[in-house]
Symmetry: C2
C-alpha cells in the first residue's frame, strides 16, 4: 500500500493505537520544572519524549502503522523517505519485528544519520538532491516492489499513533490548562490535539513552528496547505514545506493557535534545557520551551504541559550552541586588546586580567592585521567570566590600566 | 548543634525520613536504557537523580536534617561547608522554609558555584585555601553563633535522607539484581545500602569511586578510614579524602564491593549518557555507568540499577568532553599536512578531502614551525569524519595523492 490510510482520526482510533503500541513504547517522564516555572510565572511540566528508545516520539506513529500491517504486507516489507527521526523509528520497529525496511534519504544527508538508521537495521538508499526527490523515489520503489509506504505524518495510522501522546500526557497530569506541541507536517499535533480536545475541550492546544518555515501557520491563514520555499533551520525535524492534507483539517478543527520562534530563541532554549533541566533536546524539540520563554503565549499562573519531542541533536552543533549560550550570558567573552610589542607586555596584561579573576581560555596574537600600529601587537583573549556585570568590572580595569581594546562578537 | 547526629541508621529510620521528605522531593525517573543494555549485555535501568530540583540527590539528606530541627534551631539558622551540590541543597531547602543558611566555601571555588548557591538564598562565606580549612571555619562559626552544622555526609540524619533513594529505587523496580552507587564520603551508599540490603539481602550493592581518590576502598582495605593525599578528578563531587566515621561501618556491613574508574572512563561515560540517553550528568554521577561500560563488574544478563546521582557539570567542561569524545570515536580528526607553499596548493588538498566527504571545521597554516622545509608550509586541518574506518579511507587517499602528514593527538 503506497497510499496513506484515510478514514477518521477519533479519540477511539487513538485509544486503539494506544492499546496496540503501549507495550513497546516508553512511558516517558512528564516532570515538573521548578526552574522554568519560576522563570515564566507558570507551572511548567516537561514531557520528555527524547527518552523514547530512538530519541523521539516518531516511534508511536511508525509502530502503530507497522502493527496494522497484514501478514502479507509484513513479508513484503516497508519503505519510507526521511533523513531524520522518522527513519530511525521505522527502521527500529520494523527490524524488531523481522520486517525489512528501506529508507530513501537525500544524497547529502549527514552520515551520522545514515549510520544511525543503518544500525537500526534499515537498508538506506541515498537518492535525490532533496527530501522531495527522495520521497518520489521511495514512492516509485514502493509501487515497483509492492511495499508499504510509511509516510512521516500524512497518514491516519501515523496520526493515531502520535495522538497516543495526548492520552499519555493527560493520564500523567489531568489538570493541564495548556499544552504546547511542535509542528512540522502536523502529524504530531493533529493526533495530540484530537485526543486532548476530545478528552477535555477546556485545555488549550498551541502549536509551535520555526519562523523560518511556518507552513502550518501559513495553511491556517490561507485555509489550505500551501508550499513554502525551502529554508534552513536548526529545528530541521519540523522543517516541512507543506502541511499535510490529512493533518491540516485536524489542526484547523482542534488547535487554538500556532505561534513561531526564531533561530536564536530555539538555540537558547536548547542551552537552557541542557543546563537547567539536564536534558538534551534537538531544535524541533526545543521550540515549545522557546515559545514560553519568549512570551509567545500570554499565559501566567497556568499549568502548562510542554512537549519536548526529540533529542537527536548532533553533538558538534550542541558544542557550538553551548559556546554561544555562554557568550550570550556574559560567561565567555573575547576582547581584542592592543598592546606594545616588547617582552613583559603580556605579563602585565595577564596580571590585570588575573586580578579581575577572569579565566583565560584562548589567546591569538597578531602583529600584521586588525590595523595594528607598527611596533604594537594585538591579542584576542577569550575569557570565562561570571556574567555581564563581571565583564564590566573587567573592561573598567583594563581601561584603568590604559589598554585600548574592543569586544569581539 | 555542631555535632552530627549519631544513633543508628536502620530501615525504620530511613522509612521515617522517606515520610518526612517525600512531599518536597522529586520522584525521579528510573528508566530502562535499551542502548546501554545492549552495549553491556545486561538489563540496565538509570535512576536519574540529576532531575532533582537542584540537580543532585543531596537534597534528600539535607532536607531530612532540616526537617528534624527544633523551632529554636530553625530560628538560629544552619551552616555548612561545601563547594558543590550539598551547598545548593542546603541553601535551597533552608530558604524555602525561611531558615537562614551560611555556606563556607574555599576562596578559589569556581564562581558559577558561588553564584548558584547565593541564588538559592544562602549567605556564602569564601574562606580557606581548601575544603578542610573552609570546614574548620564553618565549625568555628557554628559554635560562635549557635547554629546547626549540616555535614555533607557523616551524620545519621543525612545518611537516612540519602537512604530514601534505596527505598524509592526498589519501589520503582523491585526485581533488581545489582545496584551501583557513587561513593565519596559514603553518605549516599551508606544509606542506600542499608535500605536495599535490609529490604532484599539478595541484591548486590556495588560502590564506585574515582581511582584518583578512592578513600572508601582504602578504608575497607585497612579496616578504618584513612586520609588520602588531595587529588584532582572530574568527579569532584566524590573527591573526598577521608571516608566518614558514621558511614564506614555501614559500607563495611552492607556493601559487597567498591570498584574504581579512571578519568578517561568517566569522561567517556558522560559523553555516552549525553549522546545515547540525552541526559546531562556530572563526573560524580557518571562513575557508575563508567564502571559497567568498562567491565569493572563481572555481571552479564543481570538487571542492574545504576544511580546517576547528579548533573551539575560546568557546560564549558562538557563542551571539552564532547570534543574529546568525538576524537575518540574517530568523528573528529586533526591532520598536520605538509604542502608546497604556492597558489593553488590548498585547493588541490581541499579537493582530495572533499572527495572523501570529510567536513573541514578548522585550519591553521604555518610556515615557520613544525620542522617545515623552506618553501613548504604545513597546515593543521581539523575535520568531521564518520569513524575510524572513514579516517583510514581519508588518510589512504591523502597518501595516494602524495601528501606527507601526521595525525595530531
Amino acid at each position: 500500500m503506497c497510499n496513506a490510510i484515510r478514514r477518521m482520526v477519533t479519540l477511539a482510533s487513538i485509544r486503539e493505537a494506544m492499546v496496540r503500541i503501549r507495550e513497546s513504547i516508553v512511558v516517558t517522564p512528564f516532570l515538573h520544572s521548578e526552574k522554568f516555572s519560576r522563570l515564566t510565572g507558570n507551572t511548567i511540566f516537561l514531557k520528555l519524549e527524547n527518552h523514547q528508545i530512538t530519541g523521539s516520539f516518531k516511534e508511536r506513529g511508525a509502530l502503530n502503522k507497522i502493527l496494522g500491517l497484514t501478514e502479507d504486507e509484513r513479508r513484503r516489507g516497508v519503505i519510507s523517505a526521511s533523513a531524520g527521526n522518522h527513519a530511525q523509528a521505522v527502521a527500529y520497529h520494523s527490524t524488531k519485528r523481522g520486517i525489512k525496511s528501506q529508507i530513501c534519504m537525500p544524497v547529502m544527508t549527514p552520515l551520522v544519520k545514515v549510520t544511525a538508521t543503518r544500525d537500526y537495521g534499515a537498508e538506506v538508499v541515498l537518492i535525490g538532491a532533496n527530501y522531495e526527490e527522495a520521497c518520489e523515489d521511495a514512492l516509485r520503489r514502493c509501487k515497483e516492489q509492492s511495499l508499504t509506504f510509511i509516510h512521516p505524518f500524512d497518514d491516519d495510522a501515523i496520526i493515531d499513533g502520535q495522538g497516543t501522546l495526548g492520552i499519555e500526557m493527560l493520564e500523567q497530569h489531568d489538570d493541564l490548562d495548556v499544552v504546547l506541541i511542535p509542528v512540522g507536517g502536523g502529524g504530531l499535533i493533529g493526533g495530540v490535539s484530537s485526543a486532548v480536545k476530545e478528552m477535555n475541550p477546556k485545555i488549550q492546544v498551541i502549536g509551535v513552528q520555526s519562523s523560518k518555515i511556518a507552513s502550518m501557520k501559513a495553511a491556517l491563514e490561507r485555509n489550505q496547505p500551501v508550499t513554502l520555499p525551502p529554508s534552513k533551520t536548526i529545528a530541521e525535524g519540523i522543517a516541512v514545506r507543506t502541511a499535510g492534507t490529512h493533518t491540516f483539517p485536524l489542526v484547523r478543527k482542534y488547535v487554538d493557535e500556532v505561534v513561531t520562534v526564531d533561530e536564536e530563541e530555539i538555540a537558547s532554549a536548547i542551552f537552557l534545557l541542557l543546563e537547567k533541566e539536564k536534558t538534551l533536546v534537538e531544535g524541533a524539540g526545543a521550540v515549545t520551551m522557546a515559545a514560553v520563554l519568549n512570551n509567545k503565549i500570554p499565559h501566567r499562573g497556568k499549568k502548562i504541559g510542554i512537549l519536548v519531542s526529540a533529542g537527536n541533536i548532533d553533538v558538534s552543533l550542541l558544542s557550538l550552541i553551548i559556546k554561544r549560550g555562554l557568550v550570550k550570558d556574559g560567561r565567555l567573552v573575547r576582547l581584542r586588546i592592543h598592546l606594545p610589542d616588547h617582552p613583559g607586555a603580556l605579563e602585565k596584561l595577564a596580571a590585570v586580567i588575573a586580578k579581575q579573576k577572569a579565566n583565560i581560555v584562548e589567546t591569538l596574537h597578531d602583529r600584521t592585521y586588525y590595523g595594528v600600529v607598527l611596533g604594537d601587537s594585538v591579542i584576542d583573549i577569550t575569557m570565562e567570566t561570571r556574567g555581564t556585570g563581571h565583564i564590566l568590572e573587567l573592561t573598567t580595569a583594563l581601561e584603568g590600566a590604559g589598554y585600548a581594546f574592543e569586544r569581539v562578537l
